[in-house]
Symmetry: C2
Subunit: 309 residues, 2 copies
DNA sequence: TTCATTTATTGTCCAGGACAAAGTGTTGAC
DNA sequence: GTCAACACTTTGTCCTGGACAATAAATGAA
């Protein structure tokens, strides 16, 4: 039904490839110039047309880059070596009960929505919210991220998984939400960090701990965080960083924000991404582990007098 | 530790302006060349630095363009004329009850979370889900978007509003979700479109209409949409585009996807963003209005025989 | 080891030319 | 007067190839 009008060259224009791979047009062109890959055809007007195979390979390369490899190496490799790298394990994961997580992973891989949803609620009832978040959800998110970057899992399965988790969190939280506790904590991420699940996990833990969370969603510019913190009169601002976020950028952002934030408002940073931050930052509390969050809360409460747990 | 070295020129680099305004770097540069606006400073390295005032004006211009004006005219105008245009109502938005929307906007502006949440549920109960979505939520999202780009509203208020809406949708949907109806429709957006609210609105309408929605969340690459469509055996794929998404890119993406998608699976595109697409695309059903969705569903049902409404 | 300095890598920016798609205006047939 | 066909204008995207700063890697000193 389609396109007998198209000549025999066919493929995606550069804008589509940018959208699909997340590599900017500039990058695509400069790779071609420097490394001789990709090698798009040209249409009648001299514009690039990328073969689907090459687009696929570009996605693969992008994924490997997220795992830490550098383009110079990757673009020199042939297909065989590339796939070999893809298989290579990055370093043992720190999950406690691997067996059970494997069961979960199977559900994710077969995108069995109903079973996944059922399992979520069963496990939630069994462990309670805090235990469920720490022992199941958090490790599972790590596993899914790893599996994705290892190409064992498609974007589709990963999205479906996120949607189910999000749905579950929001349902559970909706029934507990109207809290009046303290401290009041602002929850968001810096621009560029789009992962919401970290925020939802923290919100869940906070609601249980009788904290009043103000959820802003992801990607709030720094000056708006500042404004929100003052208008909503929060006691602390808590940012979440996924492992994908550059640790340099994270540290810089935290410094910037700390500088502008009134001294009376604490600044906390959590998530897998803060593990990569080496140096402590003055006036910023780094919380790579869940336990750190509890410690931080306890500390705040003792410092601010009469407030129970 | 940073930057007493910064000179007295300051402003946003071109990449930030692209993100803020939605105008591509190429467009920004070509406007400067052709129309003499904007007129960014340069940093030590000769790179553009846009003054916040100009960025604001660019956002304003972008919004007017979305309303149908052409850049050639807009860029020739001075501030006064621009603001005059801005005040002028565009073909009177189709909101039935402007008065009530104003009340809502006041709640958004004062970020009164509790009142907003209460109002949501009250109005939902009064109008039913479909009526609520069409008469309140959709116009309100447009209003908030407009107010934001007119700088009457901060990012913070906009985020808070989105979070409340999302929470509400997910709560409501959680209680109705396990559906087995047909057709089965895959819901997602293309990479680059991050707005989720459109998807949630459509999901809500579909659940009421006894459709089985598969929600993938935003930003799925085309080949993954394809894979999901086949694995989940859907009858149609429905994409949502916000007004921020470039209509050229949207059209291109739809063409790309249509080409790869089996003929048996329909392709629908909804949201404010498709209004800007002029030409029809072969095999793609453009649904700028909610009514179009109902029509599309009805059409599908008559074509596929015995299935009630 | 650990830290500081040099060197290599890599993404983004720039200029300015070109062109096609979309919009606008004009003409003439009915 | 309406409408279709045509020419002209506007406008966004793509092109090349050069430059440079930010980051990572490698090297040397304490």
């Amino acid at each position: 039904m389609n396109t007998e009008t198209t000549s025999f060259v066919s493929g995606l224009p550069i804008a589509s490839v940018e959208r699909e791979t997340g590599l900017s047009k500039d990058t695509l062109r400069v790779w071609e110039r420097r490394y001789g890959f990709p090698t798009p055809e040209r249409d009648a007007n001299g514009e690039r047309l990328y073969a689907p195979t090459q687009v696929q390979r570009l996605t693969q390369i992008k994924r490997l880059m997220d795992r830490g490899y550098r383009p110079g190496k990757l673009l020199a490799l042939d297909d065989v070596a590339l796939i070999a790298l893809d298989e290579a394990r990055p370093g043992a994961l720190v999950t406690p009960n691997v067996l059970q997580l494997d069961t979960w992973m199977r559900l994710v891989k077969t995108h069995d929505s109903e079973a996944l949803q059922r399992q979520f609620y069963r496990e939630l009832a069994k462990r309670g919210l805090a235990g469920f978040v720490q022992d199941i959800v958090a490790p599972l998110i790590v596993r899914v991220g790893e599996a994705w970057s290892r190409n064992e899992l498609g974007v589709f399965e990963e999205h479906l998984f996120s949607q189910h988790l999000e749905k579950m969190f929001r349902t559970v939280l909706a029934n507990m939400s109207p809290q009046r506790g303290s401290p009041r904590v602002l929850l968001t991420t810096l621009s560029g960090e789009e992962h919401t699940l970290g925020l939802l996990m923290v919100e869940a833990l906070m609601v249980v701990e009788d904290v009043y969370p103000v959820l802003l969603g992801p990607q709030t510019p720094i000056d708006e965080i500042l404004r929100a913190a003052q208008l909503k009169q929060v006691d602390a601002v808590c940012l979440s960083f996924s492992s994908a976020y550059s640790s340099t950028l994270a540290a810089q952002g935290l410094r910037d924000l700390r500088q502008m934030l009134p001294a009376g408002i604490e600044l906390w940073a959590g998530g897998y991404g803060v593990k990569a931050i080496r140096k402590t930052i003055d006036g910023v509390c780094l919380m790579p582990e869940f336990q750190d969050l509890y410690d931080g809360l306890a500390k705040w409460r003792t410092e601010h007098g009469r407030r129970s747990a």
